[in-house]
């Protein structure tokens, strides 16, 4: 190898200077420095650096966007490294400042997995809790309905992880509701469970309600928030395609007035207005909190009761603190069935529907009465519950070598509280002083306790 020592090489003509020939390798030795200060370095489309590139900034060559790698590439952020949001950058998804996590979702049974009462109920003309736990049906003389907990096997809601939904089918239509008729799917939260919204303070938070919905009816419908001070704030959503699961996100304004009581009574209610008479449709959608006016409750009227062809289904309900879009909505917090079930039991419990299930034993102090059968609730209920039961003939008083069918049409509710009940039962020709065990005859016997909101 020969060496040419010069201080400068210039083109012989013009301004282009070429070093070497295609296929050549030009090596800059270790320890040498290649300085391009204040010069423009035109690089080829692809630069291959098999070791490490050190720079303080990477920016787009033109415009405002650049791509990092190609589809299928994997980029590893090493252990101990940190990716920092400067504070206002977007695209980071959930951040500590935008998301106030809760240990469990605010909505109990939002995935419609638990249905203690029944998985279907037909001929519904009134209001109440009929199938899926916590899901209230408000029907003021607007049609007749079948309600079911519907298993999902396909569709976008199923693909999003929801195996069950709450569904209603109209079985007797009311195409011309009377003025006071009203139909609403309804969920109620305790006041003590929504204090993080800081309603009634200068730091009041906004609300986001997200859910999956499917109906044969298309068009715009209304969702209402109600507080415990007879105030309302509303939003709307649009069902774009019939019989297709669609994910909806509805946001609601904050309210710096009218704090919600911090107790176990109804504090915040979410109502999906489905149909109504003229008393509820002539106003405007209240996008800011206001004193509730019936005329504002179903302005965007889906008219779900106008045909027996109509149905409406919902699942994946979530309530979040703050305002979200589809780009940054926190994921639905799925619970185990057991955790979900236990949370439902705060509001409703059922024991029975299994042959010979026991309700404790009591003592016989007259020839017809057994008392002191103590039943402890597995979960403390919200309030002292109402008690209902199957026919008394579905219960045995077992003792003194016999199974004696209960005679009274009502088991007692002595000492009932949020923690349990000490029930009594009536038989015939019982042995005074003996102990009798209250239990079901077969799978038709049950006792229920309800402390719903």
């Amino acid at each position: 190898m020969s060496t040419l020592n010069v201080d400068k090489v210039d083109p012989s003509t013009g301004t282009d200077l070429e070093i070497g020939t295609s296929g050549d390798t030009i090596t800059i030795p270790s320890g040498a420095t290649l300085t391009t200060t204040s010069a423009t370095l035109n690089l080829p489309t692809t630069i291959t650096a098999t070791t490490e590139v050190k720079t303080n900034k990477v920016s787009p060559a033109t415009g405002t966007a650049f791509a990092l790698g190609d589809s299928g590439d994997t980029f590893t952020v090493p252990s101990g490294a940190t990716i920092v949001n400067s504070g206002t950058a977007t695209g980071f998804g959930i951040t500590q400042t935008s998301f106030l996590p809760t240990a469990a979702p605010l909505i109990v049974n939002g995935d419609m997995a638990v249905a203690q009462r029944a998985t279907s109920s037909t001929g519904l003309t009134g209001s109440g809790y009929f199938t899926v736990d916590r899901m209230h049906w408000q029907n003021d003389t607007l049609g007749t309905w079948t309600q079911i907990q519907e298993a999902q096997t396909s569709g976008d809601a199923f693909d999003a992880g929801f195996a069950t939904a709450f569904r209603v089918d109209c079985t007797t239509a009311d195409a011309s509701p009377a003025a006071a008729d009203f139909l609403q799917f309804h969920y109620v939260l305790e006041g003590q469970d929504v204090q993080m919204f800081k309603k009634g303070t200068s730091n009041a938070e906004t609300y986001t309600v997200a859910f999956w919905v499917k109906s044969n009816k298309t068009g715009t419908a209304q969702v209402n928030l109600y507080d415990d001070k007879s105030r309302i704030c509303s939003g709307t959503y649009t069902i774009s395609s019939g019989d297709t699961w669609e994910h909806k996100i509805v946001t609601f304004a904050a309210d710096t007035t009218n704090a919600i009581d911090n107790d176990n009574s109804a504090g915040l209610e979410i109502g999906w207005a489905l149909d109504a008479g003229s008393n509820y449709t002539s106003g405007t959608v209240a996008t800011a909190w206001e004193t509730k006016a019936a005329t504002d409750e179903s302005v965007e009227n889906l008219s779900l009761g106008d045909s027996t062809s109509n149905d409406w289904a919902i699942t994946g309900i979530q309530l979040e603190v703050g305002t979200y879009t589809s780009a940054d909505l926190p994921p639905f917090r799925h619970e185990s069935y057991g955790d979900n079930f236990s949370r439902c039991q705060r509001y409703f419990q059922q024991r029975g529907k299994v042959a010979r299930i026991g309700y404790g034993a009591g003592s016989c102090h007259t020839s017809t009465v057994v008392s002191g059968c103590t039943i402890f609730f597995p979960v403390e209920m919200r309030a002292t519950p109402s008690q209902s039961q199957s026919a008394s003939t579905e219960f045995y008083l077992t003792g003194s070598g016999q199974n004696q069918v209960c005679q009274s049409d009502t088991l007692g509710n002595e000492g009932i509280s949020t923690m349990g009940v000490t029930t009594s039962a009536v038989g015939t020709s019982l042995a005074v002083g003996n102990c009798y065990w209250l239990n079901t005859v077969d799978g038709d016997g049950y006792i229920e306790w309800s402390a719903e909101l």
Binding site: G126, S127, G128, N264, S265, A266, V369, S371, R382, A383, T384, P385, S386, Q387, S388, S408, D409, T410, G412, N413, E414, I416, S424, V426, S450, A451, E452, L453
Partner: protein, 56 residues
């Protein structure tokens, strides 16, 4: 929908602490507790002019 209501004394009690009501076609014992929403609804039902029957 409440269709009937009657004060209820358990067989071991001398005073009624509950109301036996038929709500949505289901007979139930409703404790006279202001936090119980069934009881709240019975009170509204009474305010509309209905009457709770005396206990047997």
């Amino acid at each position: 929908m409440i269709t009937s209501a009657k004060y209820w004394k358990n067989v071991t009690e001398e005073e009624a602490h509950s109301i036996k009501a038929v709500i949505n076609g289901v007979s139930c014992l409703v404790p006279m507790d202001n936090e119980n929403t069934d009881y709240q609804n019975i009170l509204k039902w009474v305010a509309e002019g209905n009457v709770i029957e005396e206990a047997d």
